[in-house]
């Protein structure tokens, strides 16, 4: 049954996912062509100097790509479910309701995780061509919180979508926004290096929030 549910979710997400992959690759190409041009014009030594001594982060244009990707996948996956309350059809499948939701949430989380893994491996591979290990590691720790924020956003989308009460929906939106904002407080390179474990705990802790919303939806809660 997991394969059937996964295929159903893939049918909803495929075009959005392909668009995200194409955009992400185009963005990476654009960023590194720009870096290459800067190195030809001002010299590699100057670029290394501004990165090491002036704390300039050359990949800051990638900042919002993960969260936009997560929001896009989340919305194309869950908006159809709440239109005319089509989620009721999914919940009537011969499986426990929590299992159905687990498969649906798990699909998008795993899809995003695989995409981000490939994305970051590509970035690190190209960076290693231009820069030494120290700069690559610093870039990784600077990018990582932005990737982790995407998982928090992705967990909140079904939580907000399935919540039946408007006031609580709005409050969940504000809570989600505030929790995502935690990952964007500072752009300083490696600022989150001592906070990565807390960020991962937050990403994992928010995943089950959608269960509350779906439970309230099933019970027909109105206040």
């Amino acid at each position: 049954m997991f394969k059937n549910i996964a295929y159903k979710e893939w049918l909803k997400c495929r075009y959005a996912f392909i668009a995200i992959v194409i955009t992400a690759i185009a963005q990476i190409v654009y960023v590194f062509v720009g870096i290459s041009k800067s190195m030809r014009f001002v010299g590699s030594e100057h670029i290394w100097d501004v990165i090491v001594n002036r704390d300039v982060f050359l990949l800051s244009s990638l900042k919002y790509m993960p969260i936009i990707a997560a929001c896009t996948i989340g919305l194309v996956q869950f908006i159809p479910e709440i239109m005319q309350k089509r989620i009721k059809l999914s919940l009537h499948l011969p499986l426990p309701e929590n299992t159905i939701l687990k498969y649906m949430l798990g699909f998008s989380q795993v899809l995003l995780l695989m995409f981000f893994a490939c994305h970051i491996i590509l970035i690190i591979s190209i960076l290693s061509f231009y820069f030494p290990l120290e700069i690559v590691v610093s870039a990784f720790y600077t990018l990582l919180p932005w990737y982790l924020s995407a998982f928090v956003a992705l967990a909140f989308i079904p939580t907000i979508c399935f919540e039946p009460v408007l006031i609580r929906k709005i409050c969940l939106f504000i809570l989600g926004l505030a929790l995502v904002k935690i990952f964007y407080i500072s752009d300083f390179p490696s600022a989150y290096i001592f906070n990565i474990v807390n960020c991962i705990i937050l990403c994992v802790a928010v995943i089950p929030f959608a269960y509350i919303s779906i439970d309230r939806f099933k019970r027909g809660v109105s206040d």
């Binding site: 010299g43 590699s44 030594e45 100057h46 670029i47 290394w48 100097d49 990165i51 090491v52 001594n53 061509f129 231009y130 820069f131 030494p132 120290e134 700069i135 610093s138 720790y141 006031i167 609580r168 409050c171 809570l175 505030a178 929790l179 935690i182 407080i185 500072s186 300083f188 390179p189 490696s190 600022a191 989150y192 290096i193 001592f194 906070n195 807390n198 937050l202 802790a205 928010v206 089950p208 929030f209 269960y211 509350i212 439970d215 309230r216 809660v221």
Partner: protein, 400 residues
């Protein structure tokens, strides 16, 4: 399912503990007028410039008030350019002949912020040519790192310069350097009068001094062995010292150019994790200032013998916002002023806040009675321990 709802309430409490104090501070914070204090080489006392009752006042410790021109004359080490322009520059101060060149060579400014130390550093350093013969320093064309050996990297090809790396590593081994380096400190900017290289703490906590002189490795054991928390290299015009440093004992020390002699600098009590330090030196006195949250404390020390001659403490004109402590049981900070790192810190207020939390509990009870809601113990436990944050979270996110 109720455990998941408790996680929602917990995350809401933590978010509110971060946001509400911030919003309240945004709405009510008042600016703190800062003052500038400098030790006068003319009348041997501190002179302070500050805003007082809406006016900018220049006054001495004794309370003598000066106008701008008088203040320039009282602080000649600071305002020598203005005095020169006005043809009011004295020929001698403190029974010593002075001229612009002598003053400018001996003047220096050093500033330490906790964020200098509490930030991520990328372990790549440019090693400038110290005896290039040119007025301006030029970028060396490579950077070094020290792991199991010293390696020089060529940025144009992102490869290791093996010949130079082997040459320098050989010198390191000959001088008894224990790889890998624990810490490396230096001024990586080319905008300085001259270059004195880097100070490196090796694997055995021995402090070495590294420079490149005529393309060759200059490495000296300073004979200092011990823990160093942070070292701040300087390039003063008079070339009398290399660097300031401190260890966990929070005592400020200086490394002089006289065979790396280390001496203590008299300094107001400082916690290098929290407080700011600035040092304005001239040919007669050094002004050592420590800035706390609520005051500045200054010492004046003689520039040659480093003995304290005077001290002063200037409190800030801050209106305490004590009502924070009666509303919020704790605050959560993610950004701290003393660090570039993002780390969550929870500050708890006074224990008496539980009485206020009981009041919030009573408010919630009245709210439930009016709305004819059932009363649950878990809601009251949240409100008792988290106060207004719990009250708001429970009212929005309760799910019984």
């Amino acid at each position: 399912m109720k455990y998941i709802n408790h996680i929602i309430i917990l995350s809401s409490v933590l978010v509110l503990a971060c946001i509400l104090p911030y919003l309240l501070n945004l709405a009510t914070a008042e600016s703190v007028s800062s003052s500038f204090t400098y030790y006068s080489s003319v009348n041997n006392m501190f002179c302070t410039n500050k805003y007082q009752d809406g006016k900018y006042v220049r006054m001495s410790e004794k309370g003598d008030v000066y106008n701008r021109a008088e203040s320039d004359s009282i602080l000649p080490m600071l305002n020598y350019r203005q005095l020169l322009a006005d043809s009011r520059m004295p020929d001698s101060i403190q029974n010593q002949a002075v001229d612009v060149k002598k003053i400018s060579i001996n003047n220096f400014f050093f500033r330490y912020r906790p964020t200098n130390k509490n930030r991520a550093h990328i372990g790549l350093y440019p090693l400038f040519e110290s005896m290039s013969g040119r007025v301006r320093l030029s970028m060396p064309g490579d950077v070094f790192r020290i792991n199991e050996r010293i390696e020089f990297l060529d940025p144009s090809s992102n490869t290791i310069k093996e010949k130079k790396s082997l040459l320098f590593t050989g010198v390191f081994n000959d001088k008894g350097f224990s790889f890998p380096a624990r810490k490396i400190w230096g001024n990586t900017s080319s905008r300085k009068a001259y270059d004195e290289g880097y100070f490196i703490l090796d694997g055995d906590n021995k402090l070495f001094h590294l420079k490149m002189v005529n393309g060759k490795c200059f490495l000296r054991d300073t004979k200092f062995k011990g823990e160093i928390e942070f070292l701040m290299p300087q390039e003063p015009g008079n070339k009398e010292f290399y660097a300031f440093f401190f260890a966990k004992d929070n005592i400020l020390k200086i490394i002089s150019t006289d065979k790396y002699k280390i001496s203590t600098i008299p300094c107001p009590k400082i916690n290098f994790e929290q407080d700011k330090l600035s040092l304005m030196g001239n040919m007669f006195f050094w002004n050592v200032k420590v800035s706390y949250n609520n005051a500045d404390s200054l010492y004046a020390i003689t520039s040659n013998s480093k003995e304290k001659v005077s001290s002063i403490c200037i409190p800030y004109d801050i209106k305490e916002n004590n009502y924070y402590n009666y509303i919020f049981p704790f605050y959560v900070y993610l950004e701290q002023g003393n660090s570039k790192y993002i780390k969550p810190i929870i500050n708890f207020t006074e224990a008496g806040i539980f009485a206020v939390n009981l009041l919030f509990g009573l408010l919630f009870f009245i709210f439930c009675k009016i709305r004819k809601k059932k009363i649950y113990l878990s809601d009251y436990i949240w409100i008792f321990f988290t106060g207004i944050f719990g009250l708001i979270s429970v009212m929005i996110f309760k799910n019984h």
